[in-house]
Subunit: 338 residues, 2 copies
DNA sequence: TTGAAAGCGCTAACAA
DNA sequence: TTGTTAGCGCTTTCAA
């Protein structure tokens, strides 16, 4: 591997001068600069980033610890988000360090390890919890991070979030306009912040039409298709089942659709089912899924950019970005026929 | 941050001795070793891994450039594979550097950049192509890597692969045993190695029962649900459509199911549809999907372990691992009623 | 405009 | 058993 030293020997200048020439300092004569750059090019010089990092005391790396549940982790949402983060990071010259951990003790350890080892300059956080230990910790340690999502009672950090209340109100209005009044719901673990927001949106949206969410038709699922399937079956076993089921994410909605179909119902006619996220799958299921669209890939990019700017000490135009999601009406929701 | 120097000052020993004590060398007296380890513990010493890397000339990092197609990248297969790779890497003390690139020029650049910058010690490769430039290149550069999948005409590298021929034969036998003789197929881009393997398995499996794959019912899809949907529609528009459609991956199978349902068919009764991979979704669709199971998470771990052993210069028990996948019969396949 | 020297934190060959 | 010294490749002060 070619080093500065090699070049310096070749061109007969000091290592210092070579370094400065290559970094575009202007206290090097045009002439030597040209010569050095030419030599570097010709010799195929590539700076040793590890040496740079040691010297600069920065890793130019961001960490993303994906919260996974269960062994079979497979959430299309994350694939897309990850792609957004990864591509933005590489555009900005940063590395992306990825790990997956189930929420809880091991997860915190992973954060502390990455910080303690100074493996990364900052973190991407997703799937916020009401009282998020990750965020509290990072704030306490004054370690850079950026978040997709908000938390319960503080906002002294950078985040991007979707306006889940708004999104769910769209769903509520839509279902009510179709004549639904008995509406079930499959929400995620209430500890998850987006569960709270979306649920609040649904409730207030329905309340605006004087409709209540009935307790027995309000279930908690684990965000997977399986969870949606199981909870939908439970809901539909009610002697007087709802005519519409609102799932708080697409994966659960897909599970709910399967459950309804297993029960011999035609989704969109006998029962309406809606999701949230608009993962690519949503468009090509049968029936296609009425849901709330979020630009997942772009959000990943935005959060990543925020983080890197924070790390570089650059000013953020906006510390908090709240996106208005949009309702996508497809075939899984239809007129109430009962 | 605490450094070896800080400790050496504190305990009144040289930096070298401290380093050796902490690394468990046995040319340090038990006494001083104890003392130094105690001091390090107490002071909260964490080695600076960047300094270690510079000194060792290794990055302890592996690279995984995920081949993505289209902007909306969202393949459950990759989520799960990634989790397997990531967790194994962290167990073995390695970092995982992730990037996503569409196959082609930009992708090769990404590989070369990571190599040139010596950002990683090796690569994980997936979705092999018949004549895979990535692999040829890496071999030429003698850069470590491990692969999920094989390539056309050489095997002088470590890989894990599923026996796609075997898997598809299972599918063929299954469908034939259900009375299907007109069978359609949605294959991936034939450049992809697993397309070739699976297709070969299907063809030979059918040939064993004297059945041919009809040209007009053999389509190429892009591995997404959308692709499956589109191609299934095309296949079913044949004046004499097949009674079964074999999709070469689950995502396309799910799309095909939707297409059949849009056409008013009951999948499993009017037409049988099968997939390959057994992503978690497959179990909770309606109907649930008959497919071929692969232990995706474990495979990710195996490939990762292979790579790291290669990097560390350790002997591999097996350089080539071929897994026998297993047929999972669910509801999307049923007796031929025509 | 250039170079010498120090230092980032660590490991390792060699000497004592 | 311990310490001295050199060096990984780079940036950056400071002096010339």
């Amino acid at each position: 591997m070619i080093t500065l030293k090699d070049i310096s020997i070749k061109v007969g200048k000091s290592i210092t001068t070579v370094s400065r020439a290559l970094n575009g300092y202007d206290d090097v004569s045009q002439e030597t600069k040209k010569m050095i750059q030419g030599a570097a090019e010709e010799m195929g010089y590539r700076p040793n980033i590890i040496a740079q990092r040691l010297q600069k005391q920065k890793t130019d790396t961001i960490g993303f610890i994906i919260p996974t549940f269960g062994p079979r982790f497979s959430d299309p949402f994350f694939s897309e988000f990850l792609a957004g983060v990864g591509n933005m990071a590489s555009d900005l010259g940063f590395d992306l360090l990825v790990s997956t951990q189930p929420p809880g003790e091991k997860e915190y350890k992973a954060y502390h390890k990455m910080m303690g080892d100074r493996r990364v300059d900052g973190f991407i956080i997703v799937r916020t919890r009401r009282n998020d230990e990750r965020i509290n910790d990072l704030l306490k340690q004054d370690f850079p991070f950026a978040v997709f999502g908000r938390i319960e009672d503080r906002n002294d950090f950078s985040y991007v979030d979707e306006d889940g209340v708004y999104g769910m109100r769209q769903i509520a209005d839509h279902l009510v306009s179709l004549g639904h009044t008995r509406i079930g719901c499959i929400a995620p673990d209430p500890e998850l912040m987006f569960a709270a927001t979306r649920l609040e949106g649904l409730k207030s949206g329905l309340a605006a039409h004087d409709i209540q969410l009935n307790g027995s038709m309000h279930k908690v699922g684990d965000l997977t298709q399986k969870g949606g399937y199981l909870q939908a079956k439970a809901i539909m076993s009610d002697p007087n089942p709802p005519t519409a089921i609102v799932a708080c994410n697409d994966l659960m909605a897909l599970g709910a659709i399967s459950a309804a179909q297993d029960l011999g119902l035609e989704v969109g006619r006998d029962v309406s089912i809606t999701g949230f996220d608009d993962i690519p799958l949503a468009e090509y299921t049968h029936p296609s899924l009425t849901t709330v669209h979020q630009p997942i890939y772009q959000i990943g990019g935005m959060v990543c950019e925020m983080l890197i700017k924070t790390i570089l000490g650059q000013e953020l135009e906006q510390k908090h970005i709240l996106l208005k999601p949009s309702l996508i009406i497809r075939e899984s929701s239809g007129k109430n026929n009962r």
